[in-house]
């Protein structure tokens, strides 16, 4: 599978393909943004695609026996195996095509995992998959910030202080989840220097996500996209606000939208405007107080989150991305070099 498919960038909403490859039959919750991620992902990838889905909402709620929503070939993989599923599928196709056992053609291989499967359990296999420069594959992590399928338990991607069934709000302990959300996409980008494409995305910006999927699939080699997915059940809000909450996550600066194409970073959407000083970040309060999972927050908790975001945008080496604070002399040296 040396070659990739011809998947040009989509210029506007009117040019988005009308064909649906993720159709009716799924049983996801009302307002499920992860389901939208699936739909937009396969719309951009098209019919000559194999999708591998690790255990999680997008397995259990999507693919009930006899009522699959997938029009393309789809296969379940174990919770920690999105990386291995993509590698195995790509390796099988590659070997058979090279040896003449199968018609040689570019077939997209996409594996998806939730935050539990990707950011927690599957991290090692995912990292290994991203080392295989010889295979074209895309791993999409749909991050709804908890093990939402199993009853909303905290994951390594759950934000600080969030109320989950594993980190309930108690009489003695208000914020049981004191872990800060893992910085997943930069970890993948920095840790796998040969990767040609890493991006973050949000289904609230559908066309942007479509095009990111297409760039990933045509970049060559292994690629990774991390999506933030508002989850009405896990985040505790009215399903009609999913779209809005996705936008707010970015507008408050809690989530940064960017692409790293062959090592070159570019922020996009509201994140770009924020970094350029064109737009001001909205206070995190506007985002936090819309969600039941943060309903127990006191002003000091909101301040904790706000301070973190401020630090991220004002002090980090690359705002919103690389959590390293350069020392003053280093800044000077960098400026001199410029």
């Amino acid at each position: 599978m040396a070659t990739v498919q011809d998947l040009p960038q989509i210029r506007g909403v009117k040019s988005i393909p009308v064909e649906e490859f993720y159709s009716s039959g799924h049983r996801t919750c009302q307002g499920c943004e992860s389901a939208l991620v699936m739909r937009l992902m396969i719309k951009a990838a098209g019919q000559r695609t194999i999708v591998l889905g690790s255990t999680g909402c997008m397995y259990v709620a999507n693919t009930t026996y006899y009522s699959t929503p997938w029009v393309v070939p789809w296969m379940h993989t174990q919770l920690g195996s999105a990386g291995s599923a993509a590698t195995g599928t790509a390796a099988g196709l590659s070997a058979m095509m090279r040896k003449g056992k199968m018609t040689d053609e570019p077939i997209n291989v996409i594996a998806f995992c939730g935050d539990g499967g990707g950011v927690d359990m599957g991290l090692s296999a995912l990292s290994a998959a991203l080392q295989h420069d010889e295979y074209n594959l895309l791993i999409v992590c749909y991050d709804n910030e908890s093990y939402a399928n199993t009853d909303i338990q905290a994951s390594g991607s759950t934000p600080w202080g969030a109320n989950t069934t594993f980190s309930p709000v108690g009489k003695k302990i208000r914020n049981m989840n004191v872990r800060e959300k893992k910085n997943m996409a930069p970890m993948m980008a920095v840790g796998h220097p040969n990767m040609k494409y890493v991006a973050t995305a949000c289904a609230s910006y559908g066309l942007d996500f479509n095009n990111k999927v297409r760039r990933a699939l045509t970049a060559g080699g292994p690629t990774f996209i991390h999506c933030i997915d508002p989850c009405p059940k896990g985040w505790d809000y009215d399903p009609k606000y999913s779209h809005e909450l996705g936008m707010l996550a970015i507008e408050t600066g809690l989530w940064t939208q960017y692409e790293i194409i062959e090592g070159e970073l570019s922020l996009n959407g509201p994140s770009r405007a924020i970094s350029k000083g064109i737009r001001k970040r909205k206070p995190v309060e506007e985002y936090l107080l819309r969600q039941g999972r943060f309903a127990h927050f006191l002003p000091e908790d909101i301040k904790h989150v706000q301070d973190r975001v401020d630090e991220q945008w004002e002090k980090w080496w690359i705002p919103g991305l690389i959590p390293i604070t350069p020392q003053p002399d280093e800044v000077e040296t960098a400026e001199e070099a410029e």
Binding site: T63, Y65, T68, P73, W74, Q78, A85, A91, L93, M96
Partner: protein, 407 residues
């Protein structure tokens, strides 16, 4: 290590190789498409061998050095789903690290062939052989075969692909090879030619179960209580069909290659008129045969029966072979703490196999050779003597005995 030929095995040849190398050669002859490796002793000698074949351009396959055993088995499972012929393996706790992936491989009916270089489980650490690693998957739908020689390793690897990939079966196949005794010991092996193998082994065709854009199926959706029993029953039926498929494949193998015992399931050594039969698996066959020969020379009516297939368990063959014996001594290179009689796994399967018989031999269990401790000729003689005493007195003093163990 065997010399690597750039044009591999155009003609039949004789090689001095280990059991691991024999399986590596079988992979090359079977034109395996995807192999995944992860280091753990003693199985990984097979991966060192196939990687050398690839490096020298003698064998073309996609070679993946996985980051864990779990990924090793997941990767071949998915490669198998798109129609690729696959090989992997592990040992001891490595096999256990892959347990989840091993489970779903059978559940998904993927004909993956794996080598288990049998090794003691941690802790405490030990490199030597024990059979508990492979035996742990006995209930899941894997074929489990215990190899005794390097020749058998090569031959059975080829038969394994033919059986596992048969559309009537589609179940994975594990070749258990005793650590060190088989994985690392060299012996003269008849290596068949590619032409012979091609005649014997058809390509793997997954048909309508193949995951491909031309065949857009959904594999392994959530079924819950609505369908799970029916699907489990299908796997059960496949396991019930496999003995017949094994027999066919074995007969065909014997015709083409001119080798092999009469039965694919068991090996009988001087069992015909034996009053006492020693039963075991794997490489302990060698010292046992020597002991049996010696005792025969001394006029004792003893025999040895080697169980080759543990899954499917050859109950009928064993009932027939053991039905006329007065005493049966089962040697387990494994343990099952807290089980009935505190015995080993093979013992329980055998005792359960013999239960419906009108005439049942006295059955004794001997736990021996754990962690790679050698089972000596003298141990076997002692085992037979203990069994003889039970037969003579009609009474079993002790159902399970740990052999040659310090008190």
């Amino acid at each position: 290590m065997a010399t690597v030929q750039t044009k591999l095995y155009e003609k039949e040849s004789e090689e001095l190789i280990s059991g691991s190398e024999a399986i590596g050669i079988a992979c090359a002859l079977a034109d395996v498409d995807v192999i995944t490796a992860y280091p753990i002793r003693p199985y990984d000698t097979v991966m060192q061998y196939v990687s050398r074949l690839k490096a020298d351009g003698a064998f073309d396959f996609d070679y993946i050095i996985a980051e864990s055993e779990h990924s090793q088995f997941e990767i071949v499972k998915h490669a198998s789903a798109v129609g690729a012929r696959t090989f992997t393996g592990s040992s001891g706790v490595g096999w256990f690290y892959a347990f989840e992936a091993i489970t779903v491989t059978a559940g998904l009916r993927m004909p993956v062939v794996a080598m288990v270089g049998n090794r003691a489980l941690d802790d405490p650490g030990a490199f030597g052989v024990e059979h508990n690693d492979a035996l742990a998957v006995r209930d899941l739908g894997w074929h489990l075969y215990w190899v005794a020689t390097a020749q058998e390793a090569l031959d059975m690897a080829l038969i394994a692909y033919k059986v596992a990939e048969d559309p009537r079966v589609l179940l994975p196949f594990a070749l258990s090879c005793d650590g060190s005794f088989l994985t690392h010991s060299q012996a003269i092996v008849q290596v068949p030619s590619r032409d012979q193998v091609e005649k014997f082994l058809p390509p793997y065709k997954r048909g309508k179960l193949q995951l491909h854009p031309d065949n857009p199926i959904t594999v392994a959706p959530q079924v819950n209580e609505d369908w799970l029993m029916e699907i489990r029953k299908q796997t059960d039926e496949a396991m019930r069909r496999t003995p017949e498929v094994i027999k066919e494949a074995y007969e065909e193998f014997r015709e083409i290659f001119g080798r092999g015992d009469p039965s694919p399931f068991i090996e009988e050594y001087m069992c015909e008129d034996a009053e006492i039969i020693v039963v075991g698996m794997g490489t302990l066959a060698m010292p046992t045969r020597v002991a049996i020969r010696r005792m025969r020379e001394a006029g004792k009516k003893v025999g040895f029966l080697r169980v080759k297939f543990f899954r499917p368990f050859p109950a009928e063959e064993l009932q027939k072979a053991l039905g006329n014996a007065k005493g049966v001594a089962v040697i387990d290179r494994d343990y099952s703490y807290g089980s009935p009689s505190y015995g080993g796994v093979l013992f329980h399967e055998l005792r359960s196999t013999m239960y419906p018989m009108d005439k049942r031999p006295l059955m004794l269990n001997f736990i021996a050779g754990l962690g790679g401790r050698e089972v000596m000729v003298g141990d076997i003689e002692q085992i037979v003597e203990t069994t003889q005493t039970a037969v003579d007195t009609g009474k079993i003093e002790q159902e399970t005995t740990w052999v040659a163990v310090r008190e």
